[in-house]
Structure formats: C-alpha cells, structure tokens
C-alpha cells in the first residue's frame, strides 16, 4: 500500500492529473480509525489525508462496492465522491495509464 501510494504521489509531483478510484475491498483501505500500531505497523492510512496537499482531490468510491459492504461515506477517512460502476468505468477509459492494487 505504502509503495503504491508513492506512485500516486509521484504522479502528482510530475504534474500528472490523478484520479483515484476505490472499488471492491479496496474501499477498506479508506476506513477511519485504523490502529496499525497494535500490530507494530506504521499507520499508512494517514497519508490519505496528505493527498490534498499534493493536489489529488479527485477521489471516488464505487457505489455498488460501498453498498455491498454496508459502508457509508462518513465511515471513511477523507471526503470522496460516490459514483456508479458505470460512471467510473467511463472515467478510467479516458486515462492514459491505469494502475491497480
């Protein structure tokens, strides 16, 4: 996750327009109140709060995945846009490069 986010941040540092999409179990990465330190891990979730200072504000979650997991946006760390699978697909289609994790 940390190394994946490094790619996301670097893309912004190279002035690329970044669109972040969370779908499927990926949504769990955005859950609030993660306490990684109980496993002696660094809390990588906090870096999501830094996205805005790197001008990464286009962050979407997939509506169907949210519903299937009974997660609402107020349980997430950061403000996100909720979009349907179909809308997100259309946006990804326009990307020059797509990275998945």
């Amino acid at each position: 996750m940390q190394e994946f986010l490094d790619i996301v941040l670097m893309a912004s540092a190279f002035d690329q327009r970044v669109v972040l999409v969370f779908e499927g179990d990926g949504i769990y990465a955005l859950m609030k109140d993660q306490q990684a330190e109980v496993l002696d891990l660094k809390d990588n979730s906090l870096i999501f709060n830094a996205l805005s200072i790197y001008d990464i504000n286009d962050i979407s979650v997939e509506k169907e995945s949210m519903q299937a997991r009974s997660i609402s946006v107020d349980q997430l760390l950061i403000p996100v846009i909720t979009s349907s699978r179909h809308e997100l697909k259309q946006r990804l289609q326009l990307a020059d490069q797509v990275f998945s994790l």
Binding site: L9, M10, S12, A13, F14, K42, D43, N44, L46, I47, N49, A50, I53, Y54, D55
Partner: protein, 107 residues
Amino acid sequence: MAALSGIERNEYGFLKKRSQWSEAIAEALALSDGLVLTAAHWEIICFMQGYYDDYKHQPNARLFAKAIKNTLGEEKASSIYLYTLFPDGPLKYANKYAGLPIPPSCI
C-alpha cells in the same frame, strides 16, 4: 559536543529516538554540521515535524518541494532557497534536525 552526549544516533548521525529530540539537540546537531539555525531553518524543520506527525510519511525530494510549495508558498519551495538554508541537502538535513528518520531517498 556535550549536548549530544548520551543521545543515540545512527550511522548517518540521525537520532534513533525522536523522544530524545529537543530544540537544543537540533541546534547542536546543526552546529556539528557547521550550521547555525535561524528562523528560516526552523520554519522548514517545524514543517517537517508537523508533516510527519500528521501523515506518518516521509516525502522524497520532489514531493517535499511540492508539499512546501502548497503549504508555505512557492518561494520557500525553490531549490535555491532551500539549498541556501541547507547546503548539503534540504530534505536530508531538515529531517535530521527534526529528529526524524533519514528519508529512504537520502541514504
């Protein structure tokens, strides 16, 4: 240097434990590198500590510049400005005096 005695440091001279950090330690670390810390240095050092506390993340040089630009302003993010303050590497030495780990890209 008396101030630094009893302070655990790694092979790069960085503090091993942030809990041992203090402003006096930062000044002593800088002095041993031949640097006297001014308000301008402190602005960057404090930015570094705040960034780390908020995000538990260490930026690389490019991200560091972008983060400074978007928080402290464009002129503070210029290489000329930052290298005037920390001639041997702004990212590395701002982290060092902040008592933070050495950023992976600075080894």
